[in-house]
């Protein structure tokens, strides 16, 4: 079974954000649509999706850009600026997906796959990471990574 591993993920987030990150496994993550980030092969096949609740996306985005944590107070709707920065968090996390799977993937730069296609991966794929992340000084949020390789990966 493919997994990311919480220690590599925690280490990566700590190195990226420059602050302590604690991860706790959870059974289920319900990502917000605005946080879906697809990962594609060089042939643009969608093979994985990174998604989170808004809290994870906002806290990691703010922490990465050194935006004061007070900006997050009462923020319960998608924040475009923080979500754009969160995309870079997802981009860096894609490295771990590459290391865990047989595919060389990259963040889908052109957002060429529909929300429905991304949701299908979340619905049908294997959840290879599910955790609650606490970013020191910023807050807590839930992160999930789903993997759904093309069917031909299992043939010949």
């Amino acid at each position: 079974m493919i997994t990311i591993g919480q220690t590599p993920l925690a280490n990566l987030l700590e190195d990226l954000l420059g602050r302590e990150v604690n991860l706790q496994p959870v059974d289920k993550v319900e990502p917000h649509e605005a946080t879906y980030r697809g990962m594609v092969t060089d042939e643009d096949d969608l093979v994985a999706v990174i998604g989170s609740d808004l809290e994870f996306a906002h806290t990691t985005g703010a922490a990465l850009a050194l935006i004061p944590a007070g900006r997050l107070d009462g923020l319960d709707q998608p924040d475009d600026v923080l979500l754009e920065i969160y995309t870079e968090v997802a981009n860096v996390m894609s490295r771990l997906v590459n290391e865990a799977t047989i595919y060389r993937t990259r963040l889908d730069p052109g957002v060429t796959h529909s929300t429905e296609a991304l949701e299908e991966v979340i619905k049908s794929g294997s959840m290879i990471e599910a955790c609650t992340a606490t970013i020191a000084g910023y807050g807590t949020g839930n992160l999930g990574i789903w993997y759904n390789p093309p069917a031909e990966a299992f043939h010949g």
């Binding site: 190195d15 754009e84 981009n91 894609s94 060389r104 990259r106 963040l107």
Partner: protein, 120 residues
């Protein structure tokens, strides 16, 4: 030292620049480009000492940029700062003439080492 940072993400360019400062190169002149094609123009006009480039970018990728530089006879040092990390990608970069390969998130000690090598 003049450093050209090439990345399609503005926030990542800022982060790389911040890492350069934190690695002890606060006096370096950092210039930016948002893809490989623009980087070629900037490199030709600004003559950087080293280029730190992302791998995946629209218009022209980092490896395409490096190959164009070498084809034109420009031997400026080029290193990749990328979330790519597979052996195949690293080999491709080396064969194209890359001087170093740093994974995101940037290890400041590694960055300091490669920039010190440029300064020598």
């Amino acid at each position: 030292m003049k450093i050209l940072v090439v990345d399609d993400s503005a926030i990542m360019r800022k982060l790389v620049t911040r890492s350069i400062r934190q690695a002890g190169f606060g006096d370096a002149e950092v210039i930016e480009a948002e893809d490989g094609a623009i980087a070629l123009e900037v490199a030709a006009s600004q003559l950087p000492d080293v280029i730190l480039a992302d791998w995946n970018m629209p218009v022209m990728t980092g490896i395409e940029m490096l190959r164009e530089l070498r084809a034109s006879g420009d031997m400026v040092r080029v290193g990749f700062v990328t979330s790519e990390s597979t052996t195949a990608i690293k080999t491709m970069a080396e064969e194209a003439g890359a001087s170093f390969f740093l994974s995101k998130p940037i290890d400041k000690v590694e960055l300091e080492d490669v920039l010190n090598a440029v300064r020598v």
